[in-house]
Amino acid sequence: MFNYSATKETGSKSWVYQRITGIILVVFTIGHYILMHYQPDNGKTYEAVLGRMQSPWYRLIDLVFVTFAMYHGLNGIWNIFRDYKLKPWAKISILTLLIVFGLAFVFWGYQIIFSIPFIQ
């Protein structure tokens, strides 16, 4: 059972997902950088964050952004490990760690986004 789990998947689907999320992340990340820095003095204050977060669309983009970034990043790390001949127990441990940490941090990100109040 150990010999096949984690190795049977050829990775052709994740190869496509990696490219699709990658193209979206290019736009999101560079946009995010410009948005956060074009006002160096007051772009990153609490009020500025609160103001941006009043738009549900901005929140939605942030949710998609953190999800795609985490998927793309951890899938990339997993691809690096897949380049080496690892023992099956090492593969399963690494994959489990990546999934657990990835999910934990993504849900932490969601929790942060939803914890920011809407002001009427």
Binding site: R19, P40, Y46, A69, L74, S115
Partner: protein, 138 residues
Amino acid sequence: MQENNVNKFKAYEQKKWLQENLSYRKDTGSWAWILHRIAGIGLIAYLFLHIWSLSTLSQGKEAFQHKMALYNSLFFSVLEWFLFAFVLFHALNGIRIIIVDWADGARYHKQLYLYSWVIGVILFVMMGAIMFSHLIKF
């Protein structure tokens, strides 16, 4: 005759993996591959750090501003600017990889690598102008 040709290839010595890898003659594609990985590892590490540091947003204004005071310093701003270099390299080289995979880019991938550096340096300087516009007096 054929045997001699086969023997010309040097066997890969697994135990000397570091020397083997360092002595491998690297061209455009190898460098792009190495830098793409380094940048990628850096970016995912930053994403974890980013979520951790923004978690103060859920603790209210005081906690957030206390945290951000550190990141708003000039030192961290410069680090953030160099993080953008990682973003740019990974983004532009990622586009190059997609062109190689899906648009016959293998025929001109070396030119693409050169263009990605030129575009990257220009965008890096432009981002510096945006990020430090409050410090630069014209």
